[in-house]
Subunit: 349 residues, 2 copies
């Protein structure tokens, strides 16, 4: 066994910089095990990888990549990947760190392209790359980060390459599907789930799967942890949706109401419409909402039952995510995976 | 040895559809060996790969990809890759076909993103995907094709993955560098060459290198064929630049004068400016040229010496590309590589 990274020392714990967000924002840790600290050493190596990978002869590519990568980010996808590796006794740290890096690079690349697609002005508490640097260099930087992810993931065997490529394909398909249901009243809960599975949960699921696979877990266990990742990702997105209605700009690092503004069918919006809130239905279909209209609609959603219902759905998927954990070999990493589910559902940022 | 694919049969030769362009347009084949027909069987497998790879649950991704892939394209990059494999006696056709597919997918992905960056309306004789389908699906389809390329290339060993990733990185860096010198009078011939090496020649070079490497060529031969690919790519781009000034819209499948319109520092533009053509210098710096101004400037460039000079430069790089060929083991594939140099320099489309 490795030394217990999560043993409490008497000194102030040296949280890596990317953890301070969670700690500062005071999320309660119900379980004894902080999932971040379980893999803090490996996450630090991921950070180093990320920084090394974005070096380029063209300074602007490095600058735009760094703008986003150094701008925070919860690093939850790499964390899931690392924990899924550790929980099955994985030893070759360098390998899993490389895959965790690839997963985060893919996520970052899609953020850059998403900001272009959404015309987003704010990301991670500051001007979006798109707003700051313009379309051309931002688009190219997204490609650049995809390529860097390929560099990290391409070293692995055909299974890992295929799973990673499939996750990326799902991301693009989820993006298209979301576009199809943009301001589209025909969207169902099934459609919503399909979008979320592809656009968000797929990368969580794939990171978890690859972590277990590279640790040498049995195919049955790989499937269990894939279920964990999938359902954790779904719960995660549902809370993202909630926070876009009732969250705080300062904690989120971006304005709320973006889903309404962009016409994205978030779960609270769909549920409010199905609950008969005509104001929400009208706002959802409108492509020229003023800020005042957005704020009024958010308030209306918050006053109805859609937020509570969405939180309940999120808890149900969190419950689904927790089930497979019980079947895993007991370890502190298993407890870390469990705490992570709580953290994700209870977060306010 | 394989059966001679290029033996003339008495019947009308069954050119694959992607070859008819060259034949129809009447490019003279000075050498006896048609490089297309040397690897026609493998190119057909590349076509099948391309078509299979663009299937998606989201129809629009397939439609946009097919719009470009079925819209023609000279398939010169896959051809170079295949010939470089065959010339060294490579046998595992499935492998080289997969890499040739990856190279063409990368090229196609960059075309989709380039059309967004340039606001291009026409590509390969029809509306560009960007014009026809809009920014969002076109951007996502570019990502989709990059991912499919990764699927094909990611199966290979670390060397192939690294070379492919490096080529892609060079593409993005070349794009940035070209943006930096957009309408920028400081651009030098050295800058031009650097842009072309990264943005165009790198993918030719990498395809050639990987072809030789996978065929088991010695490192010295891999370097020779890399030189071939690099210089062929440079000569190719220079002729592209020429055709953008004096080419025919119908043969090119796109309007001419795009470099002027977009402020791209093409070699004829740079040479005309250095030759003292003030009208060209003014047009190059202007971001609001009318069609008439573009046509008048093209005419001015055509009347000066810039086109002849660019063709001479192209011939010099073609000469550089031809040199390493002489050192290769003699074969019909070697003659195919040689003819390809001529074809590229003498083409009018």
């Amino acid at each position: 066994m490795e030394p217990l990274l999560f043993q409490q020392s008497k000194k102030k714990p040296a949280y890596p910089s990317f953890l301070t967000g969670f700690v500062r924002k005071g999320v309660p840790f119900r379980g004894a095990i902080d999932p971040f600290r379980c893999v803090a050493k490996e996450l630090e190596l991921v950070e180093q990888n990320l920084l090394r990978s974005i070096r380029s002869t063209e300074h602007i590519l490095t600058e735009i990549s760094a703008h986003l990568i150094l701008g925070g980010g919860k690093r939850i996808r790499p964390m899931v990947t690392l924990l899924a590796f550790k929980v099955f006794g994985g030893q070759k740290t360098a390998d899993i760190v490389d895959i965790a890096t690839a997963i985060e690079l893919i996520h970052t690349a899609t953020l850059l392209h998403d900001d272009i697609l959404d015309g987003a002005e704010i990301r991670r508490g500051k001007e979006s790359a798109y707003k700051k640097f313009g379309l051309k260099p931002t688009l190219i930087s997204g490609d650049f980060l995809f390529i860097k992810a390929f560099e990290f993931a391409g070293k692995f065997d055909a299974t890992v390459v295929q799973w990673t490529a499939d996750a990326c394909t799902h991301l693009t398909e989820g993006e298209i599907l979301q576009g199809f249901f943009n301001r589209n009243m025909n969207v169902t809960l099934e459609d919503y789930l399909e979008i979320v599975k592809r656009k968000t949960a797929s990368l969580f699921q794939t990171g978890a799967k690859i972590g277990a696979y590279l640790a040498g877990a049995s195919p049955a266990f790989v499937e269990e942890i894939a279920e964990y990742g999938l359902n954790l990702g779904i719960a995660f997105q549902m809370i993202d949706d909630v926070l876009d209605v009732v969250g705080h700009k300062e904690l989120l690092g971006k304005p709320i109401g973006m889903d309404l503004r962009d016409g994205n069918p978030s779960l609270p919006i769909i549920l409010a419409i199905r609950g008969g809130q005509r104001q929400v239905a009208e706002a959802f279909q409108s492509d020229h909402l003023t800020n005042e209209m957005i704020q009024a609609t958010l308030k209306a959603i918050g006053q109805g039952s859609a937020i509570d219902k969405t939180k309940n759905y999120s808890r149900s998927y969190a419950e689904l995510a927790s089930k497979p954990i019980k079947k895993l070999p007991p370890s502190l990493y298993r407890d870390g995976l469990k705490t992570l589910v709580q953290l994700i559902v209870e977060r306010n940022f």
